[in-house]
């Protein structure tokens, strides 16, 4: 919103104030100012000039040769304006004058000397009218500086509309002026209004049928309006504040809106006999004054003339009842409509107007009467013949409750942490329009109606009013009463950090972030589609979203595909969220999930897989000091390999899966690469209690290593050897490790090393041989035999 300081000055005398500083304070105390423009600063030396004569330029078909009387002399001017003619008075820039970016110099135009320039309103920056040079009142004295006639000089600042969301009172200059009054301590002037002077009994017939959406409807009929053009000061203000001048009545409604924040609408009086406010019974079509046909739904509030719709309440009037050139009679609407209804309707139609933007903010219904009287006042000043032909009819359907807030200084002290005097509290609130009664340091304040629609309702709100005017820059700042004791990192975060460090530092992996929803297009590229899951309800904006992912790999597989040429081998990981369908209570089952994706064109799938297993083992060992256990399982996603998908458990808790890719998916991602996927449920992992490791003094006696090469039949896993040996509980067997694996056809040759040692003595080879025999016997029962050298 644009704010004119000239306009503000109508209501609060800011003479002697540093305006720039004041606007800066406004940012700190009220709302963010986005920019300041100094209007008229680049306009200088433009005076009233009378065109004494106008002849055609001998060498041009459109230029004229003028003689202009500028008060101090007569100047030869070459001018191309179509309306240049003898007898008119215009804005004349003499040599040396400044017109926007142009410094006026004496020049020759097609051989003719020109000492000055006649200006259009656009060139002076007070309108966008560039159809011709300005035509001024003939009574003006030649040579008078234009700035003495029109308020060209002004300071316009723009306030971020978003920062006014909660301040319906600031959507007009009068409310803004109230802020400046409070900031400077100067009085706010009363708004000049004029009572309706009609003395008969006629009223505009108003029937508010929908009492939910219409809070108040105030209307009056005015006739004999002969003025067509609004005065220049008004046009300039409207233009500076971003609105184009149209005609007197339209300009007046805009002017009232910019002044009070109360939208008003002027209907052509000849088109309106009886105002009805209601929603349509069925969906209808309606043409707004911008010429567009709109679809109106049954929850849109409309204004009717009897049964004929004439306006969309609070948004825009209709084409048929618009003020036109010969309108001399008007029915003025000053109304208050429900903010949510207006916002939803405007949104539905995609038609947000200055009026709807204001209604959305829940403006004060008390303003409608003020607005009507202000309209009458301004119109009567401009057009003396205009007459109210009815009384003002005021249908006040819904009042906001009056709000009174009690508090004391001690509360303010405690909430602010500083000491603001009772006197200052009182004065601040009074200047903002609160009715304050106080008894020493106890206050009882009545919230003004324009702040009571939603903005202020409790003590904390009052504190804001006091402190923002006091100025946050003036606050003494201090630490809290209770001491600061450093907090400890949670186990949850520590595990996350350890995992990330391990993956980045020991496994050279790259952390990525992916979206929580599956992307159908990306999945299609690798022959997949999103799995059935919880859906997003899509907004009206265009989005590529839809189904939440069940597995991190719905995001990771496309990502591996996208990066397949980044390097011949890489690993990516993320701790993100996956959604495992819907729980019984109809809520989404969200899990914190670690995904690790490994890709390689350099190694075989098998060695990549074992690197992944090593990674998991290292991770689990580091976090929990136990061993991970793997168990082959069936696939739960089409892209998993039926033979190489395993569940990972730790201390009996299932924590995740590891798998290679189904050949069909793998082929789509890479013809000659391998991919291994790991997914860990981080909360399941967190729930596993870490085992405390125990220190064991190394034996002082030499041990004996015993190597065995075993034949492992198909379908027997290495863990079988481990389990069987462990079951024997041989006290002196300290460790069993694998030192070599050789894959022969069907049967795997595996060389294990058994480490024997005792804490009490040196073992004899006989003792060890006895244990080995025991082990071999046990393994033989599992069909695991010792390889016999040929």
């Amino acid at each position: 919103m644009f704010v004119s300081m000239n306009w503000i000055n109508d209501f609060v005398d800011l003479e002697g104030e540093d305006i720039e500083k004041l606007i800066h304070r406004f940012t700190l105390s009220t709302a963010e100012v986005e920019g300041i423009e100094y209007k008229g600063r680049d306009i200088n030396g433009i005076v009233v000039g009378e065109i004494l004569s106008c002849e055609d330029h001998p060498d041009s078909d459109h230029l004229h040769l003028l003689k202009v009387d500028a008060g101090d002399g007569i100047y030869d001017v070459v001018c191309g304006a179509p309306n240049a003619r003898a007898g008119i008075k215009t804005a004349f820039a003499k040599v040396g004058a400044q017109v926007g970016d142009i410094k006026i110099k004496s020049a020759k135009l097609r051989g003719q000397i020109s000492n000055g320039m006649c200006c259009s309103a656009k060139e002076i920056g007070i309108s966008d009218d560039h159809s011709g040079i300005m035509e001024l009142d003939l009574s003006l004295k030649n040579g008078t500086d234009l700035k003495e006639i029109f308020p060209i000089d002004d300071i316009i600042f723009e306030v971020d509309n978003k920062s006014l969301t909660n301040r319906p009172d600031l959507w007009g200059h009068y409310g803004m002026a109230r802020e400046f009054a409070a900031l400077t301590g100067k009085p706010l002037k009363e708004l000049p209004v004029k009572e309706d002077d009609y003395e008969g009994d006629e009223v505009v017939d108003i029937d508010v049928r929908n009492k939910d959406y219409c809070y108040r409807y105030t209307g009056v009929r005015i006739e004999n309006v002969t003025g067509k053009v609004s005065p220049m000061y008004m046009q300039i203000r409207l233009y500076y504040c971003g609105t184009r001048a149209i005609n007197l009545l339209a300009d007046l409604t805009n002017y009232i809106m910019l002044e009070l924040g109360q939208p008003t609408h002027a209907f052509d009086g000849n088109r309106i006999s009886r105002i009805v406010v209601d929603t349509p019974k069925t969906d209808i079509k309606f043409t707004t004054l911008d010429g567009n046909e709109r679809d109106i739904t049954t929850d849109t509030l409309m204004i009717y003339d009897n049964d004929t719709p004439v306006a969309i309440a609070g948004i825009m009037g209709g084409l048929d009842s618009e003020i036109v050139e010969d309108t001399d009679s008007v029915v003025l609407e000053c109304a208050n409509f429900d903010g949510v209804c207006v916002r939803k309707s405007a949104q539905r139609m995609g038609l947000r107007t200055d009026a709807s933007a204001r209604y959305e903010k829940t403006i004060d219904p008390e303003m409608t009467m003020e607005a009507a009287k202000r309209f009458i006042k301004l119109l009567s000043e401009i057009d003396e013949g205009a007459k109210c032909v009815t009384k003002i009819n005021d249908v006040y359907v819904k009042h906001y409750p009056e709000i009174t807030i009690d508090f004391d200084k001690a509360f303010v002290d405690r909430y602010t942490g500083i000491d603001i005097s009772a006197e200052r509290i009182k004065n601040t609130l009074i200047s903002l329009g609160f009715k304050v009664s106080s008894d020493g340091e106890a206050f009882s304040v009545r919230v003004p109606s324009y702040r009571a629609t939603k903005d202020i309702s409790m003590q904390a709100d009052i504190v804001e009013e006091i402190t923002r005017i006091y100025g946050y820059d003036n606050f003494e700042i201090k630490t809290t009463r209770s001491p600061i004791i450093p907090a400890k990192m949670s186990l949850k975060r520590r595990e996350e950090n350890l995992i990330k460090d391990l993956l980045v530092k020991a496994y050279s992996m790259n952390e990525v972030h992916t979206r929580i929803w599956a992307d159908p297009d990306e999945l299609r590229d690798i022959g997949l589609s999103p799995e059935e899951n919880v859906m997003l309800i899509q907004g009206s904006k265009e989005q590529e979203t839809g189904i939440l992912r069940t597995s991190m790999f719905e995001s990771f597989l496309p990502l591996i595909y996208a990066n397949r040429n980044y390097k011949p081998a890489f690993g990516i990981f993320e701790i993100g969220r996956t959604i495992h369908g819907v729980r019984e209570d109809d809520t989404a089952d969200e899990r914190r999930t670690l995904a690790i994706g490994m890709y390689s064109k350099e190694s075989t799938e098998k060695s990549l897989y074992f690197k992944a297993v090593e990674l998991i083992n290292t991770m689990i060992d580091e976090l929990k000091h136990v061993k991970a256990v793997y168990k082959k399982t069936g696939v739960s996603h089409v892209w998993q390999h039926p033979k190489n998908t395993s569940l990972i458990s730790v201390s009996g808790t299932e924590i995740g899966t590891i798998n290679t890719l189904h050949p069909t998916t793998l082929k789509k991602i890479s013809k000659n690469g391998a991919v291994v996927c790991i997914e860990i449920d981080m909360d399941a992992l967190l729930s596993v209690e870490p085992v405390e490791f125990e220190f064991e003094e190394p034996s002082k006696f030499p041990g004996i290593d015993y190597d065995l090469t075993l034949l492992l039949p198909e379908n027997v896993r290495f863990e079988a050897i481990e389990n069987e040996v462990a079951a024997l509980r041989i006290a002196d067997l300290k460790k069993l490790s694998v030192i070599d694996v050789y894959d022969a056809e069907v049967i795997k040759n595996i060389t294990v090393r058994l480490k024997f040692s005792s804490d009490e003595r040196t073992l004899t080879s006989e003792e060890v041989q006895k244990s080995v025999d025991l082990i071999l016997e046990r393994l033989a029962a599992m069909n695991i035999k010792l390889k016999v050298l040929e």
Partner: protein, 354 residues
């Protein structure tokens, strides 16, 4: 005898001069010092010497032997050091300016910024909390005093789900209610102030471009205790931001409206690049809008079980929000917000560590 020794001595000196490797040195040793060597031979000659001269001749031979031995050892040392020198001279001087492979992985930039902030907040007594990405309508809006028809609740801005009243959290504030409830007991029973930060991923239905993302990170913080004041809020914001930027920052507060705080503020810091003079980073204003904050709204504290209807100001507190994604952009000079969720390893692999 004297002559013999003299002769042998000059013979030794001549031969020693020619010694230039281990082998010739060994030959010399064998020639003079071995059991069959010339000095031993000389000893044998001693029997021919008359008895009264034997003592003197013996001494002469011994001192000669001693001298030869010393000369030999000296030469041996000399040869070793010569050999070392040859080895050193012949060695390659390595070019350590040669590029090597770097086996470093990378952290996501958000992780780096988040860790830094978490460290700072933990040192200031804040617990770090984690929260779901899917939340319900109550936690995201109702409990935060956001009224039913508030524009933020429109479908245009928020991703609603097909499940019961659920949505993707549109701001980290959605965790406030749960955290107030989690720590409220300790506050009321043990007088332990609530201090918590909660980073998290947020979602808003926005068209994506270089400056807008539908998936981004925020970090929210709250402090609740008896008598927490606006003055405390400003103090903590200033201290915290000075830590974040590793230098004393100047802050200013101006009114900002958020339904879950009252009063609410927009906190600006003086531009770190131009120090308030005005430059392109701060759009010539000298200030950067950084951190919305405010005193927690009495209704929010009530819904969080901290205060009662009868005593709505028993405990007070402040809350603040930081845009982690925005901070990461500032810190690393990332110009396109899409980089973060791109998964593009040629970009992301650059964030090696802090």
């Amino acid at each position: 005898m004297k002559e013999m020794i003299q002769k042998l001595k000059s013979q030794f000196e001549t031969k020693l001069k020619d010694v230039n490797d281990q082998k010739s040195l060994e030959d010399l040793r064998l020639d003079f010092l071995s059991k069959k060597g010339q000095i031993t031979q000389l000893m044998k000659e001693l029997s021919k010497v008359p008895n009264e001269q034997k003592k003197e001749a013996g001494q002469l031979i011994n001192s000669f032997k001693q001298e030869v031995l010393e000369r030999y050892e000296g030469k041996k040392e000399q040869l070793i050091s010569l050999q070392e020198k040859l080895l050193i001279d012949g060695a390659e001087s390595y070019d350590d300016s040669m590029p090597t492979g770097c086996p470093c992985g990378s952290y996501h930039p958000i992780t780096l910024v988040q860790r830094e902030l978490e460290d700072i907040f933990e040192s200031m007594g804040f617990d770090v909390e984690d929260y779901n990405e899917i939340v319900d309508d109550y936690h995201c809006f109702e409990a935060l005093n956001i009224p039913k028809y508030h524009p933020a609740r429109d479908m245009q801005d928020t991703y609603y789900l097909t499940t019961k009243n659920q949505l993707l959290k549109s701001h980290t504030s959605a965790a406030q209610n749960a955290i107030l409830k989690k720590y409220g007991k300790d506050l009321k029973e043990k007088g332990r102030p609530i201090r918590a930060v909660f980073p998290g991923r947020c979602f808003r239905n926005e068209a994506i471009d270089a400056c807008h993302e539908n998936t981004f990170f925020q970090m929210e913080g709250i402090m609740v205790d008896k008598d927490i004041s606006v003055s405390n809020l400003i103090y903590f914001m200033k201290t915290m931001l000075s830590e974040v930027f590793s230098k004393e920052v100047t802050v200013r507060l101006r009114p900002g409206f958020f339904p879950f705080v009252e009063p609410g503020f927009e906190l600006d810091i003086q531009c770190l690049i131009c120090e308030g003079e005005g430059c392109s980073s701060c759009k010539n204003s000298g200030w950067l809008e950084l951190c919305p904050c405010g005193m927690i709204h009495p209704n929010v504290l009530k819904y969080g079980g901290i205060n009662t209807e009868e005593n709505p100001y028993e405990y007070t507190g402040f809350a603040f929000g930081l845009g982690l994604t925005r901070l990461a952009m500032m810190k690393y000079g990332v110009k396109d917000i899409r980089t973060f969720n791109s998964g593009d390893l040629s970009s992301l692999s650059q964030f090696v560590s802090r």
